[in-house]
């Protein structure tokens, strides 16, 4: 995995494209993009992306490995599926965006301070602990993501939402102490460990 990160990429040669095809979820589709720009025009988050999907696909073909993998663009995807619905070539763009984000994260190239990434990691840690999301802990972790004082401010601002969630039984104070989970959390951890192994083995196979 580490040497994968070092992979040398020549411009407009297919090496990075091949790397993406081998390692990124649905990465096989990247080559089928015909650069029509429909996805870029359809994305509601479009204005906030540095590189819309169309451009990301072109950058992959152009061998811009660093730029793509360290980009925060694909982290902007909200999974609205607009682009997938419209792409005339049928590319599963949303999935590719998440695939790229995930791959960049795995390689440690993803932008550290990207909020979506931070949230995703917290969500994952929270979920995998017991197999169920602990809303209270997740909420607090989120509030204090950017430091203690910031956290207090956010918590106060969202006071009403929190109380309403408690009232509607969407959240429970008891969650603070352990909280609910799946029956066999050891089993779950074993499954996740195995899955990770398989994935890493797949990545290792690819030598860049």
């Amino acid at each position: 995995m580490s040497n994968l990160n070092q992979a040398m990429v020549e411009k407009y040669r297919n090496s990075f494209l091949q790397e993406v095809q081998a390692n990124v979820e649905e990465g096989d589709w990247v080559k089928m993009c015909m650069q029509c720009g429909v996805c870029a025009g359809s994305c509601p988050m479009g204005p906030y992306w540095e590189h819309p999907p169309q451009e990301i696909f072109m950058m992959i073909r152009a061998g811009k490995r660093e730029e793509v993998l360290s980009s925060d663009s694909m982290w902007m995807c909200t999974s609205c599926y607009n682009c997938i619905a419209r792409c005339p070539r049928g590319l599963p763009i949303t999935h590719i965006m998440h695939g790229l984000a995930h791959y960049a994260d795995r390689l440690g190239l993803a932008p550290k301070e990207q909020p979506t990434r931070k949230f995703a990691n917290k969500f994952w840690d929270n979920l995998t602990k017991k197999g169920r999301v602990n809303e209270l802990k997740l909420g607090l972790a989120l509030y204090f993501m950017n430091g203690f004082f910031e956290g207090i401010k956010v918590a106060l601002a969202n006071q009403k939402l929190g109380l309403n969630m408690l009232k509607a039984k969407r959240m429970s104070i008891a969650e603070m102490f352990g909280g609910h989970g799946v029956k066999d959390s050891n089993g779950l951890h074993a499954i996740l460990k195995k899955a990770r192994e398989i994935e890493l083995a797949k990545a290792d196979e690819f030598k860049g």
Partner: protein, 738 residues
């Protein structure tokens, strides 16, 4: 016809005509004013009884000219199809009642219109006859195909399959042309993913096996003369021996040459052996024969860049301004040469606009992508050739940055240059008696207008690009393949089949003395009164089809089978010595003269509209079907082509008191729609001189207007007429009413 002229006028009351106009008055007008011998009304002229009434008059009363005053000449042609008599039509339905409101106010002017069209139909009748068969007509089923590439070979086999003998002329020592120099072809069948064999070998063996096809290799044409049905060609071999063969029709499939890449030094051509054209890469692939393609110095190729539009779609000096249509597909094909052999080879197609035409184009593009061919939207500025590596510098148009790629091989997608022979607009024909064969000519025609087929633009042979793709400007000679427009193999094959069908048609029509498209079946031909001719040569020069040669005494010599019956020569002739049995300066001139011109104080102006029968007239008919109204003051006469307009018609009209003249022809210029190609254009030039006539009569120039009208101009054609009516209202009536 020596018989005395006996005109019967038949006025229909059906389709609402009887309710709207006084047909009895029209019958009276026909006899009294226009001198018809018989005039009869019928309540439903096109039914069996009405038709029988006319036939009875022909059989028993000796009627030999029939004026049918009913619906448009474009309607009910089957019902009103009488043999051995001349027929004219007065258009009361589409021309009068459908374009005029049914009001008390309009009644009088509507009746005026109907009366005039009755007079006109009878007057025209007097001046036309039934054409005799052309004595020049000959029947020769043999078809000559010039060029042995994929187009020519397809044309030859198609003609042979239809039972027509073929002589196939090929300049080089082998059949196959550009296709034979290719390794594979772009797929022509679904799923359009994998490359196919060129099919050349099959075609050659089919030709060899056919007892109908005679192949002349290493041969060119040193002289072609005659006309459809009686072409004669001197076929000369490299060694100089000549045989003369006779043909009914000719197919020119002389193909293309690759653009000279030496004009592209900035793309590295000529500087490195590893910068090649598409044709050169195909030659390399042929040599590799399915194995890995190597550079010219025998090295492996790991990366290839395809530079699209090399020297094409560019306004730069020496570049081709057009798209050659096949090269994007060809680059995908050639990238597959590498990918199919070894998927690890990088192939990048750098394009500004990827154009994948045809049914399979898009699938083929996907096929390329599936095989890992990459596509980069970019414009290449330079190929740097220092050292063994090539660096392609380009602007990535998606990422908007100047960048470059290093590759082992660069392939330039250069375009097709038509092998259309001499540009006869630049290389004039030799004077009569001094004719000599020109080695640069493809056909070496003895025609007065030049040795090859005229070119439309960019060096391609003119073949009615927009409406009738195989109709060239030389009757009985059909162009197919890249000589008439850039195309790929699949298109060339289809093109060849189309041209072959046209050639067969030409053979059959010529045999019966009938005109070819667009007056297919017309038996008339130009009749020329030699005594009156001043040898001004206008007819010879203006004929869009080069039908007219010159005899030893420099008189025009009409080749009937080459003539398309457009009448351009008739319109051009200043002394009016050219006519047709069924169309003449008189047959139109007498119509416009018989129109009743009310005097100045009646406030009923008259507008003459001469409308092309191919587009403008049908447009007006369709306007009528849609009940689009137009001025009651117009009198419309259909003409064969605006090119047939003789200035005398305009002068006569103005002199006899018409207040305005409207001329409607087809679109001219590079995107012409004129059925006779140049007719409309020539007429526009001719009419630019009308101002002199107007000036000499002290009339306002607005009184004559010339328009380009398409068959779809259903609203616009009536509008043009109405605008003239308004103009007259503004400038006042003509002072020439007597």
């Amino acid at each position: 016809m020596a018989d005395e002229i006996k005109i019967g006028a038949y006025i229909c009351q059906g389709c609402g005509i009887g309710d709207r106009v006084d047909t009895a008055q029209m019958a009276q007008v026909a006899q009294r004013d226009a001198k018809a011998s018989i005039a009869r009304e019928h309540e439903f002229l096109c039914n069996a009884e009405g038709v029988k009434m006319i036939q009875d008059d022909i059989d028993n009363e000796g009627v030999n000219r029939v004026a049918i005053v009913a619906c448009s000449r474009r309607a009910k042609t089957e019902a009103f199809n009488f043999q051995n008599v001349a027929i004219t039509r007065g258009n009361i339905r589409e021309g009068v009642i459908w374009v005029r409101p049914d009001t008390d106010e309009a009644r009088e002017t509507t009746q005026d219109m109907a009366d005039d069209y009755t007079r006109m139909a009878v007057a025209e009748c007097k001046y036309i006859g039934v054409p005799d068969n052309s004595e020049e007509a000959q029947y020769n089923r043999t078809i000559m195909v010039v060029g042995g590439g994929i187009s020519g070979m397809t044309a030859a086999t198609e003609a042979a399959k239809a039972g027509y003998p073929v002589h196939l002329i090929e300049k080089t020592g082998a059949l196959g042309g550009a296709a034979a120099k290719s390794w594979k072809r772009i797929p022509q069948k679904s799923p359009y993913r994998d490359l196919e064999d060129t099919g050349v070998a099959e075609l050659i063996s089919e030709i060899e096996a056919s007892d109908k096809i005679t192949v002349h290799l290493n041969s060119t044409l040193t002289k072609t003369s005659g006309a459809p049905g009686r072409f004669s060609a001197d076929i000369t071999t490299e060694s100089g021996s000549t045989t003369t063969e006779n043909f009914g029709a000719i197919i020119q499939a002389s193909g293309y040459s690759e653009y000279d890449a030496n004009q592209l030094p900035e793309l590295g051509y000529g500087k490195s052996p590893n910068v090649v054209t598409q044709a050169e890469l195909d030659a390399m692939a042929l040599e590799a024969n399915g194995g890995p393609i190597k550079t010219k110095d025998g090295k492996d190729i790991n990366s290839v860049a395809f530079v699209q539009c090399a020297g094409q779609r560019s306004e730069k000096e020496g570049h081709l301004s057009y798209c050659s249509g096949h090269c994007c597909m060809s680059s995908v094909k050639q990238a597959m040469y590498f990918k199919d052999q070894n998927p690890a080879v990088d192939t990048n197609v750098i394009y500004t606009d990827l154009r994948m035409p045809g049914a399979g184009g898009e699938d083929f593009y996907r096929g390329g992508q599936e095989k890992g061919v990459t596509f980069t939207k970019g414009s290449v500025s330079e190929v740097v050739t220092s050292g063994s590596e090539l660096e392609v510098k380009f602007k990535d148009l998606i990422l908007n940055e100047d960048t470059s790629e290093k590759v082992d091989l660069v392939v330039l997608a250069t375009g097709q240059v038509a092998n259309s022979g001499l540009n006869i607009d630049e290389v004039g024909q030799d004077e009569p008696g001094e004719w000599q064969s020109n080695p640069e000519s493809i056909l070496n025609l003895s025609y007065r207008q030049g040795k090859d087929m005229p070119q439309l633009t960019k060096g391609f042979n003119d073949s009615h690009f927009i409406c009738f793709p195989y109709e060239t400007r030389r009757t009985g000679i059909y162009a197919c393949g890249p000589v008439r427009r850039p195309m790929d193999m699949q298109q060339a094959i289809e093109d060849a089949a189309g041209a072959t069908m046209k050639a067969i048609q030409a053979v059959e029509n010529a045999g019966k003395g009938r005109a070819a498209h667009p007056r297919a079946g017309d038996l008339s031909y130009p009749i020329f009164r030699r005594e009156g001719c001043t040898q001004c040569k206008r007819c010879t020069v203006e004929c869009p089809f080069g039908a007219i040669d010159e005899d030893e005494q420099r008189f025009p010599q009409f080749n009937e089978a080459r003539c398309r019956r457009c009448g351009t020569c008739m319109g051009a002739c200043p002394v009016r010595v050219i006519s047709f049995e069924n169309y003449s300066v008189d047959s139109v001139g007498q119509q416009l003269k018989i129109v009743d011109i009310p005097d100045e104080f009646e406030e009923k102006p008259r507008i003459l509209a001469l409308a092309c029968e191919n587009d403008a007239y049908p447009a007006l008919d369709m306007a009528a079907m849609n009940k689009v109204e137009y001025s009651a003051f117009v009198r419309i006469i259909p003409i064969r082509c605006l090119g047939s307009t003789n200035l005398i018609w305009i002068t006569d009209a103005l002199n006899s008191g018409y207040d305005g003249v409207v001329l409607m022809g087809c679109q001219k210029g590079e995107n012409y729609q004129c059925h006779f190609v140049r007719g409309s254009e020539i007429a526009h030039v001719r009419m630019s001189k009308v101002d002199d006539t107007l000036q000499s009569l002290s009339l306002e120039p607005e009184r004559v207007s010339v328009h380009e009208v398409a068959i779809t101009d259903i609203e616009r054609a009536p509008q043009i007429i109405n605008e003239m009516a308004e103009t007259i209202e503004n400038i006042g009536m003509s002072p020439f009413k007597f």
